[in-house]
């Protein structure tokens, strides 16, 4: 009995930790896509561990069955909802925030088009720009080769 208690406590602590980490990711990440990424993964983990810990506490009862139903439902629907949100954001024209020190999560540059935002980033190294250009060229070559 003590072993079951210890298992459930550990699971509840881990689940709480994951929930709070997901919420912090929701606050700290710069744009909708990274927020979705940080949130959905840790949300599924946290919910799973919390419900598992409660299942161990409940034992073989109707409550445990309801918890299993909840777990299955959330396990399948919450990633689908996250995917749908990011897909709808993409279809609506929300641009992802690309890297660069000028683009900050707390700045109000989300409203700007992508080109203007790139102009404002002055700190991109020449090497980095070259690298990205070469990657683009490689991509085009690959596409041509496929055709």
């Amino acid at each position: 009995m003590i072993i079951a208690d210890v298992i459930s406590w550990v699971m509840i602590i881990v689940g709480s930790f994951f929930l709070v980490v997901g919420a912090i990711g929701l606050i700290r990440m710069p744009d909708i896509f990274t927020r979705m990424h940080a949130l959905s993964v840790s949300e599924t983990m946290g919910v799973g561990f919390l419900l598992g810990g409660m299942m161990v506490q409940a034992g073989f009862t109707l409550v445990a069955f309801k918890l299993i139903c909840l777990f299955v439902l959330l396990f399948f629907t919450s990633p689908i909802a996250s995917h749908a949100i990011s897909r709808a954001a993409m279809a609506d024209g929300v641009e992802p925030v690309l890297d660069g020190p000028e683009i900050d999560a707390r700045s109000d540059k989300h409203d700007m088009p992508l080109e203007d935002r790139r102009k404002t980033t002055t700190a991109i190294d020449a090497d980095e720009a070259e690298l990205s250009a070469s990657v683009l060229v490689e991509d085009e070559e690959i596409e041509k080769g496929e055709k």
């Binding site: 459930s8 406590w9 509840i12 602590i13 689940g15 709480s16 930790f17 929930l19 709070v20 997901g22 919420a23 912090i24 929701l26 606050i27 909708i32 927020r35 979705m36 949130l39 949300e43 919910v47 919390l50 419900l51 810990g53 409660m54 506490q57 409940a58 109707l62 409550v63 309801k66 918890l67 139903c69 909840l70 439902l73 959330l74 629907t77 919450s78 689908i80 909802a81 996250s82 749908a84 949100i85 990011s86 897909r87 709808a88 954001a89 279809a91 609506d92 024209g93 929300v94 109000d108 989300h110 409203d111």
Partner: protein, 105 residues
Amino acid sequence: MFILAMIAVLVALSLAVFRALAGPNVFDRLLAANFIGTLAIMLLAVLGFLNGRPEFLDVGLVYAFLNITGTYAVLKFFRYGALGGEAPPNEEDENRKGFSGVHKT
């Protein structure tokens, strides 16, 4: 021990509410709303164990179904511009964009 889980749920709820208030566009608010729905389910499950009467998880099941249905309704509206009927799934139509308030014209 359930008090610790309850504190974690409440802290996560506060952070999600902050994101829902501060979110620059509608999709951030929607992501926070989805997370708040999940957290409401967790809150009432933990609350049942905390009060020693964990029989009311049916309400949590209802919340889960409603959460997914509401999110899909809003997202379908944003993507296709209609809630039902024969809306064409044309994602390139520029007239349909701009629900999120990102495109200020």
